[in-house]
Symmetry: C2
Subunit: 146 residues, 2 copies
DNA sequence: GCTTGACCTCAAGTTGGCTTGAATTCGTAG
DNA sequence: CTACGAATTCAAGCCAACTTGAGGTCAAGC
């Protein structure tokens, strides 16, 4: 079995050694043992790191990511919470596609200001309306819609 | 025409007054005038804020968002840059769907550790590959990839 | 006329997620 | 043997995006 030291993990994932040490410090990944002080990682860590970066791309904190995939290889969170996270992501996907469409429209639209462009307004307004989304918000309750 | 003061904007967008003041400070939104010190916003600001929160959900910085939709209602960035941003978002959408699938799998899979579950591994490994809708690909692995 | 509540400003503090720098330890190549 | 490069620890620093707190203004209601 082959072990990787931190430099190689960094090279193969694009994540800097300092970040990897930080992940280990917070228990998000772990090295198997030390070879003369140097951390030795299993190849599985590459997959784990991929999950981490995907989770980050989705806007989750490292804390949440740890909950989803586990600090020691298994999720801390109950099934329904995981399903809710997945729903959350699906919701975000809807938003992102709206954003993408809007951006392409903005790139090509000739209207002097997009606030005056009906297509633009429709694109943006449309974006939230898919399937009665309920956002978990911390602030005061939302009285109306935008 | 109706103007909104900061509390109403906050209530209708879910964004706190302090954040709205911050957005104004950095020039991301603007209030039309003051009514006895109090900021008065046009209803258009609701749409702008929606764009901002969408952009944030996509992982863009406020700086980038300002570039996309303009500090004064028009994009600062040239068309091709905007198209690239849109492509970037589409790529992220791919990643998010992989993550969502993976999460649902993790929620339901009975394997003792998902590192040992081939379905899990396939889901994660699949996720980064560019090249549009590539479903179940079984080709040889490229050296140096995760 | 006093209180209340919603707003104001400005400076300072907070959080997450790293990065940087200094001082040190190895193993290998020359 | 010495130098080099790649790793190590630890504390401190950094940035974005806000939040908090102190102290103040204003209009309306009792």
């Amino acid at each position: 079995m082959k072990f990787l030291d931190i430099g190689e993990v960094a090279a193969r994932t694009g994540v800097k050694p300092s970040a990897l040490r930080y992940y280990e410090e917070i228990g998000l990944i772990e090295s198997l043992f030390r070879h003369c002080l140097r951390r030795q990682f299993s190849v599985d860590v590459l997959l784990q790191i991929k999950l981490i970066t995907m989770g980050q791309a989705a806007g989750f904190s490292l804390e949440e990511i740890a909950g989803m995939f586990g600090r020691n290889g298994r999720p801390d969170l109950p099934r329904d919470v995981l399903h809710r996270k997945a729903d959350e992501i699906d919701e975000k996907i809807q938003q992102l596609s709206a954003l993408s469409d809007t951006l392409r429209h903005v790139a090509d639209c000739k209207a002097p200001s997009h606030m005056e462009c009906p297509t633009f307004r429709r694109l943006v307004e449309l974006s939230g309306k898919r399937g009665r989304v309920r956002l978990k918000r911390k602030g005061p309750k939302v009285a109306g819609e935008m």
